[in-house]
């Protein structure tokens, strides 16, 4: 077990005016970029990232080093780096902290990454709501340009690098990488058919790497420590390093924490987030953004056979399995963005589910029929269940609609809607049946447990 002696990603968060170049530089910013560009070869840097086993921090968990390896530049092509800062997955609020409190770490990561993958331009696509973060980033970019870290000859070498911020305008789907590219190009944010994948044909028809903010912000540490050493900070094999964990909902100290990959959900809630609010029992936790199927602490891992990946945790609660991309996949959920939504026993799961499905209905881009119609249909059925107009068959209808959405659309949005829907019905079926018979009783609102705290009247 590796202990995180000092923070890495968040090491400069506490510095006064940490977002200013002078302050960030006093704490080490741009040293790795300078060293990388002046003394190392792009192939070496790529190799460090590959050895770091960093799984993409945007939610899909694809190994970033492998993604970089897909690039195969042809004559006359230019490679682009696009940094995905369209953080919109319900429950997720980690990338904003990097942009607000340490924008220079992101820019330094972008410089090293551009050099490594032979790109000259990086676009940071930030969701439009984060106007403040956009201002911070633009200011930091201007400072870095002024200092000669960006521009025609960064750190005096012959490899021009520039970084631009591109503001979105309110659309969750633009976090999907090809929708993001369309939005960057001035189009409606509708996902593209794949293949071709962005590494072959991405922004402006050119080979493009799209990485999450946290992934790119981890690059300086990876290069400094060396990929293998950084990877070893994790408690899990093949899923390296440290990452930002978020906790929201019914805990005493909601917020962000930096910790090694592979802590358990129980640790995250109890040790990091200060335990359950009012000591009420944990009912359910959505582990990594709303598209990841819910975990139920009552359920035990069933992996009696030694060949099962989760055998080591056989018989333990779902929330005692280490949080990793592969372990969570084996558990039937996803690690996603590693930002958990914690719900105590006062929450009605049908109501919580309806809340999330409304989100998906609102955010479906409308391009594919199963998604456009399916999300709306799910909300209609859930509305009926909550209002007491439902029927027992409606519970299976939810499953049926979800199954017909999965895999039938251009992008993963429909799967990201259907999977948590199926998970909810699978794990809390009795509550859906109860709603089908009696509705959700008047007055059951999932904010009940905190209404007094907020000061809201009846």
């Amino acid at each position: 077990m590796s202990g995180l002696v000092k923070p890495l990603l968040s090491s400069r968060y506490g510095i006064e005016e940490s977002w200013k170049l002078a302050n960030a530089e006093r704490a080490g910013a741009y040293q790795i970029a300078r060293q990388s560009l002046t003394t190392r070869k792009p192939a070496e840097l790529k190799d460090e990232v590959k050895k770091a086993n960093i799984r993409g921090r945007g939610g899909a968990g694809f190994p970033a080093g492998v993604k970089w390896g897909f690039l195969n530049k042809q004559e006359g092509e230019e490679i682009y780096l696009v940094i995905n800062a369209d953080e919109s997955e319900p429950g997720t609020f980690k990338d904003r902290s990097i942009m607000d409190l340490d924008p220079h770490r992101l820019i330094e990561g972008a410089i090293i990454s551009c050099f490594a993958i032979d790109a000259h331009v990086a676009y940071i696509y930030v969701r439009g709501e984060l106007a403040f973060s956009i201002g911070r980033l633009e200011q930091a970019i201007a400072e870095a340009r002024q200092a000669g870290y960006l521009g025609e000859r960064p750190f005096g070498i012959d490899h021009a690098i520039d970084v631009h911020v591109h503001s979105g305008a309110g659309a969750y789907i633009c976090g999907e990488e090809t929708a993001l590219l369309n939005s960057l190009e001035g189009r409606r944010g509708e996902p593209r058919l794949k293949p071709p994948f962005p590494a072959v044909k991405g922004a402006f028809g050119m080979p493009t790497i799209v990485n999450n903010v946290e992934t790119i912000a981890s690059v300086p540490d990876i290069v400094e420590m060396g990929g293998e050493a950084w990877s070893a900070l994790s408690r899990l094999p093949g899923d390296g390093g440290v990452r930002l964990y978020g906790v929201s909902g019914h805990v005493n100290n909601p917020g962000l924490f930096e910790a090694p990959v592979g802590i358990t959900m129980r640790e995250l809630i109890d040790d990091y987030a200060g335990g359950m609010l009012g000591d009420r029992p944990l009912k359910a936790v959505i582990p990594g953004g709303s598209s990841t199927p819910v975990l139920d602490p009552r359920r035990k891992v069933d992996a009696p056979n030694e060949t099962y990946p989760l055998h080591k945790w056989h018989g333990k609660s779902e929330i005692d399995v280490p949080m990793g991309v592969d372990t969570y996949r084996a558990l039937g959920t996803m690690l996603g963005t590693c930002c958990a939504i914690v719900m105590d026993e006062t929450v009605n799961m049908v109501e919580a589910c309806r809340n999330l499905m409304r989100f998906y209905k609102h955010e479906s881009c409308g391009q594919c029929t199963p998604c456009r119609e399916g999300t709306g249909w799910l909300v209609d059925v859930l509305d009926n269940l909550c209002a007491g107009r439902g029927a027992i068959e409606d519970v299976d209808l939810l499953v049926n609609i979800s199954n017909n959405m999965m895999g039938n659309t251009i992008c993963a949005f429909a799967d990201g809607t259907a999977m948590p829907m199926l998970g909810m019905v699978q794990k809390f079926r009795e509550e859906f049946m109860e709603a089908a018979i009696n509705g959700v009783p008047d007055g059951v609102r999932h904010d009940d447990s905190v209404r007094a705290m907020v000061g809201g009247g009846a």
Partner: protein, 226 residues
């Protein structure tokens, strides 16, 4: 009336065009400039943008209607977005919306009678750890309780968006916001464990007010209406 950007903003459009290999990529940034100047995207704005970027008006309109933050109808002086997705609702998002509806005298989706506030429901604004929260114009206001919310709204009404932002707005906050002393008790960091790194507490927002040299976009969406 034909629409035109101010000369400074025209300059900015030229600058934006240098960032992309294709002219059309400037569409979102230019629409943002127009909305900041004009408050909303009128048909005249659509025509102006189409001409400036050599696109058809239908393409511009198609983009405007896709994104929730581009307004294709007039909005109040301040736009209040209440986050109602799950993390916020678990911490009182619904109470925040109901309170605002009664305080502003209009339901979500509408503008107050005095034209000062447009109240809108938002889907997740990525501030889940600081729930409940609202976005007003370009700024986030987090870890809300109803008395704090009252002060924020009252300051907007009395002194305007920038003054309210300087006093109450928050960014990537990890501790209690300075404007909410009453809530600090709920945000005491947990005892440090060996591996846990509780991320630093947020500096007071007032000191983070945008500097004059590089201000984030103006807090008032109606900006410099002429």
């Amino acid at each position: 009336m034909a629409f035109a950007l101010t000369p400074e903003r025209e300059q900015e459009v030229d600058d934006i065009l240098t960032r992309y290999p294709a002219r059309r990529a400037a569409l979102l940034p230019v629409l943002w400039l127009c909305q900041r100047q004009n408050g909303w995207i009128t048909p005249e704005v659509v025509e102006y943008v189409a001409e400036r970027l050599e696109l058809s008006t239908s393409i511009v309109k198609g983009v405007v209607t896709f994104y929730t933050m581009f307004f294709d109808e007039p909005v109040g002086e301040n736009v209040v977005w209440v986050c109602r997705t799950l993390s916020c609702d678990l911490r009182g998002g619904k109470a925040v919306q109901e309170h605002l509806e009664s305080k502003l005298g209009c339901s979500a989706g509408h503008t107050s009678a005095d034209g000062k506030f447009t109240l809108l429901k938002a889907e997740c604004l990525a501030a889940c750890g600081q729930a409940p929260m609202v976005q007003i114009n370009d700024y986030y206001y987090e870890n809300l309780d109803l008395p704090l919310l009252d002060r924020i709204i009252d300051t907007h009404a009395a002194k305007g968006g920038q003054a309210a932002a300087a006093e109450f707005s928050t960014f990537a906050s990890y501790g209690a916001p300075s404007g909410s002393a009453s809530r600090s008790a709920t945000s005491v960091p947990p005892p440090p464990t060996e591996e846990a790194v509780r991320l630093a507490s947020q500096p007071p927002p007032a000191s983070n007010a945008p500097s004059a040299s590089n201000p984030p976009p103006p807090g008032n969406t109606t900006g410099e209406e002429s």
